[in-house]
Amino acid sequence: MADVGTVGYEPVPPAEVEDMELYHPKSFATKYIWSQDAKIIAVQYAGTAVAIGMVGLVLSWLMRLQLGFPEVFDFITAKDYYQFITMHGMIMVIYLLTALFLGGFGNYLIPLMVGARDMVFPYVNMLSYWIFLLAVLVLIASWFVPGGPTGAGWTLYPPQAILSGTPGSSNGIVLMLVSLALFIVGFTMGGLNYVVTVLQARTRGMTMMRLPLTVWGIFTATILALLAFPALFVGAVMMTLDKMLGTSFFMPSIVEMGQQLTYKGGSPLLFQHLFWFFGHPEVYIVALPAFGIVSDLISTHARRNIFGYRLMVWAIVVIGGLSFIVWAHHMYVSGMNPYFGFFFATTTLIIAVPTAIKVYNWVLTLWKGNIQLTLPMLFAIAFIITFVNGGITGLFLGNVIVDVPLSDTMFVVAHFHMVMGVAPILVVLGAVYHWFPLMTGRMLHQGWGKFHFWVTFLGAYLIYFPMHYLGFLGVPRRYYELKDTSFVPDSAHDLNAFITVAALVVGFAQVVFIINIFYSAYRGKKAERNPWKAVSLEWQTPDMPPGHGNWSKDLPVVYRWAYDYSVPGAKDDYIPQNVAPDQVEMEPGRKETAAT
């Protein structure tokens, strides 16, 4: 365990990096707008993602209004409703969560945490953001074309997505496919950057097995994304060709509204395979950064080393690898050869093992810790609960036969919102409370934060926990209205109304959070340096917030892993990664022990 704990060392001089390597901004525009500084790009990415995410949030309110109070809101037609669910899903998964975790947190934290001055390709990094912005603008444009945005569901299944029975099948679907293709181009630029930076730009002493788990999570997720997004890309291109040029990649012979179409011989299932070959790793593209970040939040605020670091790293890598051979568990009732079910159910349930190990290790980090119930810690705890809940319902849906009655019901909606919506967003929120002082030099308002936390956590639980039971009942998802359905009792409609009210309240709490961010950025309490007494490198910069180039003339040298909390014998309960063994302040009368 050479890399775990504090062990003997040979002093090395810091790496010398020539000043020339870094691009220096010369004007306001090059500093804040056409910026090549990963920290600014991170804020641009995050700001854009959150802005479009707010659109997604409002869409969710609108569809909840329809579900909770059908026939009350005349302005929501079936066409609108299907457009709302489609855009809500796509926005939240791709343009909010993927962009926020990788483009936002990835850009901000990777260079700082590995001890680099910036991403290795700053110019490409800048381009990455502007192409992402373009993708978002194209997405927004689909509201302003005839027919409006596509209403094909976020999975965009053909043939439906490009036939006239679906809203937005004339223009909306094309803009959606173009927007996705742009997003993938932009992401690939950023993604290559993150991977190369982690592999090549780590500072002296920062071995891979000394990286904070945040970096491991983002790094692995980026590799997944680089391998998975191309499947979506080709799917999007092929569907565009089917739509625009009349090719038949996904289109068999079809009669549309009584008319024979000219398509012939294509396979709708092929698209589903391509989509989910991307779509399942996508779940982990969102989840792995959340896993990493939450590990660091828990460790820092429990003042305890993360439990089982090496196993945590391996769990991330194994989950990432397995995520490529489970995709067809989204397709158990798709009409594919049912014998595939045996294989995919087995691989899917195997993933539960490394995932469970991660959960145990988070909980075991709390065990015998010295737990500070700060806001980041509260969000981390709420994450564990919602993630375990969502992971468990995944064991229902992954186990092929159990999926049969539950697929395409509200159970699925409840499951993926809990595991992929609520849980990662709780991590995002905790992470913002955690790193806000680093980014702005000020603390977020604690009272508002507490309010925000409790409403968000308990509210989200009240939304999604009962929703599973509607699924057991058999209430299908993607239904504009249930009307009279013999097996649905009136009480289910009451529950739907309750869920809608809870969703509006939780949404409102996010507005409070955003006000808190703007207020605290200017008026918040000044943060002391390294306010959480964290050990990882991002808190050890000469300035807070870190300046251009992150570090002073010398890059930091790393002597230990990212989890030296409460080391026996040390005076403080934390030893930053860049403190050399002979500089650790010891308790009187003790020499540092090599904890191995």
Binding site: V4, P159, Q160, G165, T166, S253, I254, V255, E256, M257, Q260, G265, P268, R303, R304, N305, F307, G308, V333, G335, P338, G341, A345, L349, I350, A352, V353, A356, Y360, V363, L366, W367, K368, N370, L373, I381, I384, V388, F396, I401, V402, V404, P405, D408, P466, Y469, F472, L473, G474, P476, R478, Y479, F487, P489, A492, Y563, Y565, S566, V567, P568
Partner: protein
């Protein structure tokens, strides 16, 4: 009350509240009407195994929060790894997962193997209605293809296939099945994806244009059940409904006997078309006559 108390109590309440909700919920599976009670059993097994883990984890966390609260004079334990504990947890989890997977795969194995004595019925989906086809006396369904579909032949049955002549066509969203019989449900879509879903049967499967998918089940009790479409199929998805009546065999036979066969339907369609043509012709002659009269008068 201090912070840790509140958090610990809330966590505890979340765990206990979830269990209580599960016990008293009025929203639960509909009364089963097919042979797939084993699916319900696998759901119960999954609930038991995962539920215990869920509650145990939350309660343990609540206890940790209470017990290991922050004190400036205390230190957390420095313990980077604990191999023995990690191995134990991995082994136990693997066993738990195997306990879920094994019964699941056993039941799935039944699900994918259609019994030899299963009867066939075809469900056809199109935006946004269901129709059905039973094989006739020969117990064989005629071949179909999209190119045969027209207003006289909405099912797209191959007119040259002798097996198709006596197929019974149900051009209605309601269908009837006999109780106590196993059916292999053949699923065919002529436009987009659909999914034939009757909650009381538990089984379901997508309809995919370009191929015929299937599932099987046995009707176990009489009654009327809603059919829903469970795969988004366009703007009328939520309105794509049907009904299936499960009735005693005699009632079913009577009902089926009243439905037209493909041959009859074709004949009816031909007669209808011929009648229409005759009427059109008559109208045409009348109009022509009228016009001639008019011209003559002028």
């Amino acid at each position: 009350m201090s912070n840790r108390w509140i958090v610990a109590i809330v966590l505890f309440a979340v765990a206990i509240g979830s269990v209580i909700f599960h016990l008293v919920t009025p929203w639960w599976s509909t009364e089963i009407a097919s042979n797939w009670s084993q699916i319900d059993l696998t759901i119960s097994i999954t609930f038991w195994i995962t539920g215990v883990v869920y509650v145990a984890l939350i309660v343990f966390m609540a206890w940790c929060i209470y017990k290991y609260r922050y004190r400036a004079d205390r230190r957390a334990e420095y313990e980077p790894e604990n191999k023995k504990l990690e191995i134990w947890l991995t082994v136990l989890t693997t066993l738990g997962v195997a306990g879920l997977l094994a019964p699941g795969l056993i039941v799935w194995n039944r699900y994918v193997q259609v019994p030899k004595d299963a009867l066939e019925v075809e469900v056809i989906g199109k935006q946004w209605e269901w129709t059905y086809r039973f094989p006739g006396q020969d117990a064989k369904l005629g071949k179909t293809a999209v190119r045969f579909i027209n207003s006289d032949n909405p099912f797209g049955i191959d007119p040259k296939d002798p097996n198709g002549k006596d197929d019974v066509l149900i051009e209605d969203t309601s269908v009837t099945l006999p109780v106590g019989k196993s059916y292999k449900v053949l699923l065919r879509s002529i436009d987009v994806l659909h999914d034939f879903y009757v909650p009381q049967f538990r089984a379901k499967m997508d309809l995919v244009p370009g191929l015929v998918s299937y599932f099987w089940f046995t009707t176990k009790r009489t009654g009327e059940f809603d059919i829903l479409c469970a795969e988004l199929c366009g703007v009328g998805h939520h309105a794509m409904r049907g009904r299936v009546s499960v009735v005693p065999q005699a009632d079913f036979d009577k009902w089926l006997g009243e439905q037209p066969t493909f041959e009859q339907a074709q004949k009816d369609a031909r007669l209808r078309r011929e009648k229409q043509e005759r009427q059109d012709k008559a109208r045409e002659i009348k109009r022509a006559a009228k016009e001639t009269k008019q011209t003559a008068r002028n």
